[in-house]
C-alpha cells in the first residue's frame, strides 16, 4: 500500500499562534478554554471531519452524522489538549512518565541485556511522552535512545525541545532511506540502545507490510520491527501512552514479546504483527477518543 498520509499538521499558523499566545498569558487553562472554540471550528471543517471519520466510522459504525460530529469534536479536543500539554509542560521539562519501580527495573534489565524495541502508535499522549521522549522516568535514562521518525519539512507542529531550543534527548532515525532506517536500528540495538518505532505507520512502498485485522477491517502495518527483533534477539515492548491528566503520562504496557526467529520469509511474522494490531484495538476500546491517525488506514477490499 502506498502511504496515504503526509505527517503534516492540519493546524495553521494563526491558530497555532493563538494557542501559544493564550498559553503565554494564561497558561494551559486559558489555552484549554480557547481550544473549546478552536476545536469546534476545526471539527466543522469538512476536511477535518472527514479525516476523523475514517476511524470513528470503524470504531462506532452505528453512529448517525450528528453523533459522529460530536465524537469527532471529542477526539479533536483530546488531541488538542495533548498538544497544549506538550507545549506547556514539555518546554519546562515537567512531563512525568510514571512507571512503577518494579517495571523500571524490569525494562532496564531487558535493555541492558540486548537493547530494546519500544513499539507504540499514534495514539494517546505519545506526543507528550515520545517526541520529547522523556524516558528518564521510564528507568531507561542511561541508555542511548533512538526514534524512527520522519519529521515533515515545514511542519508547524513543534516538539517541546524544538520550542525550548534544547538539544533533542533522543536521536532520530530517518525512515525515508533505501533501507527504511533498518541498518541504523540494527546498529543502535547492537550497542544495547532503545529504539522506539511506531508500529502503525508504513514508510515507503509498504511492500514489506502485514495485512492485519483491525476494528472490523484490514490495515497494513510494517513488518520490519518484528524481523529486526527476531534477527537481533531483542525483546519488543508494546506500550501505549493514554492521556489521563496534564503533565503526566502513565504508560500502559501490553506486554514484553520475544519474537522467535522464523527466518527471512516475511509472512512468518504476520502473527506477531497481529498481536500489535490486537493490542491497539484494545486501546481504542478503552480510550475511544485517543486514536490520532487522521487518514484512511483501512484497505479497500
Amino acid at each position: 500500500m502506498e502511504k496515504n498520509w503526509t505527517g503534516k499538521s492540519k493546524s495553521n499558523p494563526f491558530l497555532q499562534f493563538l494557542l501559544r499566545f493564550s498559553v503565554k498569558i494564561g497558561g494551559a487553562e486559558l489555552a484549554y478554554f480557547f481550544l473549546l472554540f478552536v476545536c469546534l471550528i476545526y471539527t466543522l471543517l469538512p476536511s477535518v471531519l472527514k479525516s476523523a471519520s475514517f476511524y470513528l466510522k470503524r470504531r462506532f459504525p452505528q453512529d448517525n452524522f450528528f453523533k459522529r460530529l460530536a465524537r469527532a469534536y471529542k477526539l479533536n479536543f483530546t488531541f488538542g489538549r495533548v498538544l497544549i500539554d506538550r507545549t506547556v509542560y514539555g518546554i519546562k521539562g515537567d512531563i512525568k512518565v510514571r512507571v512503577s519501580k518494579e517495571d523500571m527495573k524490569k525494562y532496564s534489565s531487558l535493555a541492558e541485556e540486548r537493547g530494546l524495541i519500544l513499539l507504540t502508535s499514534h495514539c494517546g499522549a505519545w506526543q507528550m511522552a515520545m517526541p520529547a521522549f522523556n524516558l528518564a522516568e521510564f528507568g531507561l535514562s542511561k541508555f542511548e535512545k533512538f526514534v524512527l521518525y520522519k519529521k515533515t519539512e515545514g511542519d508547524i507542529d513543534k516538539h517541546s525541545f524544538e520550542l525550548s531550543g534544547e538539544e533533542s534527548p533522543v536521536n532520530f532515525i530517518d525512515p525515508a532511506q533505501w533501507d527504511g532506517g533498518a541498518l541504523s536500528i540494527i546498529s543502535a540495538l547492537q550497542r544495547k540502545s532503545i529504539v522506539c518505532i511506531m508500529g502503525d505507520r508504513i514508510f515507503g512502498s509498504g511492500a514489506n507490510s502485514a495485512r492485519v485485522d483491525f476494528l472490523g477491517g484490514k490495515i497494513d502495518i510494517p513488518l520490519m520491527p518484528y524481523r529486526i527483533a527476531a534477527s537481533c534477539g531483542v525483546p519488543v515492548i508494546i506500550v501505549f501512552f493514554p492521556y489521563k491528566s496534564k503533565a503526566a503520562v502513565d504508560p500502559e504496557v501490553e506486554g514484553v514479546f520475544h519474537i522467535k526467529d522464523k527466518g527471512a520469509q516475511i509472512q512468518n511474522y504476520y502473527e506477531d504483527a497481529q498481536v500489535f494490531a490486537d493490542a491497539l484495538s484494545k486501546f481504542t476500546k478503552k480510550y475511544p477518543y485517543q486514536f490520532f491517525n487522521y487518514f484512511n488506514i483501512w484497505r479497500q477490499e
Binding site: 533505501w178 527504511g180 532506517g181 533498518a182 541498518l183 513488518l223 524481523r227 534477527s231
Partner: protein, 84 residues
C-alpha cells in the same frame, strides 16, 4: 582474510531473493541497493548474513553506511572486519 567479489555475490544470492537480478552483470562499483533492488528487509537479511558468515556485527552505522554503497565497498568491509 581475503574476500573476493565472487564470495560476496554467492553469499548474497544464497540468502536474498535476487531472482529478478542477474548478479553476474552487476559491476563492483554499481550502487548496491538500486542495482539489486533491495529494500528494508533485504538490509536486515544482509546484516544477518554478515553476522552468520563472517561474525561481523554492525554497531557503527557511519562505517556501515559506506560499506553498503557498492558490492566492492561491501567486499572491503567484510574483508576488513570478518572474524571468521
Amino acid at each position: 582474510m581475503i574476500t573476493t567479489l565472487e564470495d560476496v555475490k554467492l553469499v548474497l544470492s544464497e540468502n536474498l531473493d535476487l531472482s529478478s537480478v542477474n548478479l553476474n552483470s552487476v559491476s563492483a562499483d554499481a550502487p548496491l541497493f538500486q542495482e539489486l533492488k533491495l529494500d528494508s528487509l533485504d538490509a536486515i537479511e544482509i546484516s544477518v548474513v554478515l553476522r552468520k558468515y563472517y561474525d561481523i556485527v554492525i554497531d557503527n552505522m557511519e562505517q556501515a553506511r559506506g560499506a553498503f554503497a557498492t558490492l566492492e565497498t561491501l567486499r572491503k568491509y567484510i574483508e576488513d572486519n570478518r572474524k571468521k
